[in-house]
Symmetry: C2
Amino acid sequence: MDIKEFVAHSIGRWRSQRSAHHLAFGHFEAVQSEIDIVSLSIDDPEVIELCKMYSIDPELAVSPFRMSWEGQSDWDENEAVKGTCILVPVPDPAQSNRGKLLRDQGYAEEIAAVGDYYLTDDGTFVLVTAYERAAAEEKIWFVNPNVRCRVSLIKTSAGTGVVTASFSSEIRQTS
Amino acid sequence: MDIKEFVAHSIGRWRSQRSAHHLAFGHFEAVQSEIDIVSLSIDDPEVIELCKMYSIDPELAVSPFRMSWEGQSDWDENEAVKGTCILVPVPDPAQSNRGKLLRDQGYAEEIAAVGDYYLTDDGTFVLVTAYERAAAEEKIWFVNPNVRCRVSLIKTSAGTGVVTASFSSEIRQTS
């Protein structure tokens, strides 16, 4: 599986159950959300702008997409968990299973971020992103075409301690 | 990482936070438990008996261990989640990263079971076990020597539908 196939499999609307484990306190958080993943044109002005922000030739980008989510956490039922971001994979010209992933809004800190991804032999997408005060490590894989699993770890920026480990099971919505 | 190293890294006492997602209903279950993993001798009578049950030469077994757990689910706070089982890896003589894992008590159904495991290039242990009415797929990996993640999927025996997806974050207890 290469990044184009991985993104193609991800396009659609997903119902997500996410559990976050706040490790120091042994706390559980449960989030239910809807996630929409739509493909963008390689010529989209926002895609080109994001490439320029990281001084990357837009011609190197493949399969850009927008991810939007809206949900509810059991920690604060009045506040909607809502957001949207643009993601742009830029494969390494020398190694087809590796590359950079640009995003206009990060996960651990809400700023633009660039992560390093690779795809394992068994089709798991692994993304490592270093932020100023934290590092995020995500693994995403398909159990079947309609079920996706995602594990996200937020670590201290030194990279040793794990602060939050969260798991999402995502079911494709067919409607 | 081979299976001997993987088991060696796993030996110890772990505090586990587990979230189970019951996908059809969108339900969350939270379980807190302590897990003890202790190595067993290759000559242990219970190890030899388990090998014999599966007609496997006990000389092929490596790094047998006992796993015990005791915890509490938020679904039934009065009932302790408790159990113990013996696990015996039997590497494939032809491929060092693959083999069978014998256990005297299964996860999805409480009967003895044999699963097929492999270790990926990036050190994830993947175990697939077929039961009479279900199939289980587990992935376990170390984030660092003191943090382990485990994703377990229970599928219908046909192998297509995912019934339960659960995630454990396990922190080594040093005492």
